[in-house]
Symmetry: C2
Subunit: 152 residues, 2 copies
């Protein structure tokens, strides 16, 4: 698989990832390490919360989204480097047994004026469950190098 330079990106390009299944043990293990709250740790305790059952930490969903992105055909030269997000949302919970996949769409390509040879590629990254319902969406600014950049 070839890498893509800044010059190769164009608005409208779309990428779909493979699928990744998440189970209850993974949800609890991630939560125990990073987000130890009842609705991420225990089925019974979770029933009485806002989530009405075990739900993955949003940061677990975010980390799995990154894993799916790294395994996808989105391959900027120099690697996937996120400068940040303009918006970032979790419209619905991720549940045990869900199968996640992502869609990445290029919105805009912005060559840097101050640093020739690099730029920002704005992408919408949406994570879906097996019912094609969005569980996470965000607009990300990726730092991408051009063919003449030293790092690329």
């Amino acid at each position: 698989m070839d890498v893509h330079y800044l010059e190769d990106f164009a608005p409208g390009q779309r990428y779909i990832s493979q699928r990744l299944r998440i189970d209850a043990d993974q949800i609890k293990a991630f939560a125990a390490q990073f987000d130890p709250q009842p609705f991420h740790l225990d089925e019974v305790a979770a029933e009485k919360t806002f989530f009405r059952g075990l739900a993955a930490s949003g940061w677990h969903t975010a980390a799995l989204t990154m894993k799916l992105l790294v395994g996808s055909d989105v391959r900027p030269a120099g690697g996937l480097i996120g400068a940040g997000f303009e918006s970032f949302n979790w419209p619905r919970p991720v549940r045990p047994g869900d199968e996640l996949y992502i869609e990445c769409e290029v919105l805009e390509v912005l060559p840097s004026r101050s640093r020739p040879g690099q730029g920002i590629v704005r992408v919408r990254i949406t994570t879906f469950n097996q019912n094609a319902e969005p569980v996470q969406d965000g607009i990300c600014k990726m730092l991408v190098f051009g063919r003449k950049a030293p790092q690329a």
Copy 2:
């Protein structure tokens, strides 16, 4: 430690967390699981990349930020439930040996019109390293319940 209801939050409230140290093994283990790219996995390979040395995945920083938040005095009734972020950035990399802490500042309290008894608390959450340099910042919309909400 008491929990806080929607009525207890007010703009200007600030919380500072404990500190948490991150080491190279943790950086590599997280990356192997969720963000397997050279600059997060291997010191030597990382030298030749944009990061010029091993750096934590931004999602690792985000997950540790959540851990620090859960351990902090920010304790909404019903738990820490993030609806999303209006902005989310990683202004500089997290390096092995960094000690992270967070500051959480309440910006705005927005009671829901359609769902009495709950609302959104807008907070700025900034993660700093041991040199008080920001490594992550975001404006988060937290779902918070009032004293009369069924879930609270």
